[in-house]
Amino acid sequence: MQKIKTFCENYITDEFNCNVAKYDYNVTNREYEILEEKVYSYFDDSMSKGYGRAGAIDKKDDIYLKLSNKKIKNTRKRILFQIKEFEDPTLGDALKRIVKGNLIYRADMSYELQTPSEFSKFSRGYYIADTDSGLKIIYFKRFDIKNGVWEHQHDWKPSQVLEDGNLIEVEKLQAPIEPNSLKEYNKD
């Protein structure tokens, strides 16, 4: 479990650095690409790439400058709430070809942006597994705060974690404040 925790902590730090740099006018596109590639290295190649800068700093009008500074100020490191270890998960056909062994882990984390609502709440559950390229994030689910349920990353079943499997161990790291997240946190 310790190596999964370290993997998650490193991912959280590298993702934060990348998210801050995305809107920072002092960071060149080349410098950003290096940070972006570092974040991508935590994901299996089959995962869609979502950290592109996409010209986020190309405009320099007053509104854009103001919002970019705000974005940097509001960007946060995700909170790692808990890690669960599962045995014998049911995986979609495409994921079966990627995952080695019969264990997967789910790391429940917060959102990466401070917004007007409570920050200490579940946002994503990242599934981590051993692959031919080492530990990788292979999938994630989003936590629907309103209904207190997990929803799939996408609708394409071959790449989904269909069932988590048998729960082997839970490592609790920090309890969320938001009520539905706390209920989910206390479930196991």
């Binding site: 995305k22 809107y23 190649d45 089959s46 869609s48 790439k49 979502g50 592109g52 800068r53 996409a54 010209g55 986020a56 509104i63 854009y64 103001k66 919002l67 970019s68 705000k70 974005k71 509001n74 056909d93 495409a94 070809r97 990627i98 959102y111 942006l113 917004t115 007007p116 609502s117 946002s123 989003r142 990353q153 996408h154 609708d155 394409w156 071959p158 790449s159």
Partner: protein
């Protein structure tokens, strides 16, 4: 693509009760040279989704290229290379609250981008 749409939805939902409206712009980039087809990238994607190695090997390069070219001939649509979405949230005084820039870059399996 759907994953990114969910991400944009989540971004807007985070400001429920604070944001009054938002502006969203979308930029599409297209493949510049229609004659270029990245077979290796498509095959790598197929290997991820195929049920087994045998199924992947059933498709030869020539067959794949033929299939892509047939699809290209059957449409006048341009081949999409990527999408960029920009969302700016505003409060009810029309003051900008937050910005989100979202990018999609995916291999187009049907048309062979």
């Amino acid at each position: 693509m759907l994953d990114k749409e969910y991400e944009m939805r989540d971004f807007v939902k985070e400001y429920e009760g604070q944001a009054d409206h938002f502006n969203m712009s979308a930029e599409v980039s297209y493949v510049e040279d229609e004659s270029i087809v990245e077979l290796e990238a498509i095959k790598a994607k197929l290997r991820e989704v195929a049920k087994d190695d045998e199924e992947t090997e059933m498709i030869s390069d020539a067959e794949l290229l033929q299939s892509i070219q047939a699809k290209l001939r059957a449409t006048n649509q341009k081949r999409v290379k990527g999408m960029k979405y920009e969302i700016i949230l505003f409060d009810n005084d029309n003051e900008p609250l937050e910005i989100g820039v979202f990018e999609i870059e995916e291999i187009d399996l049907l048309l062979g981008t």
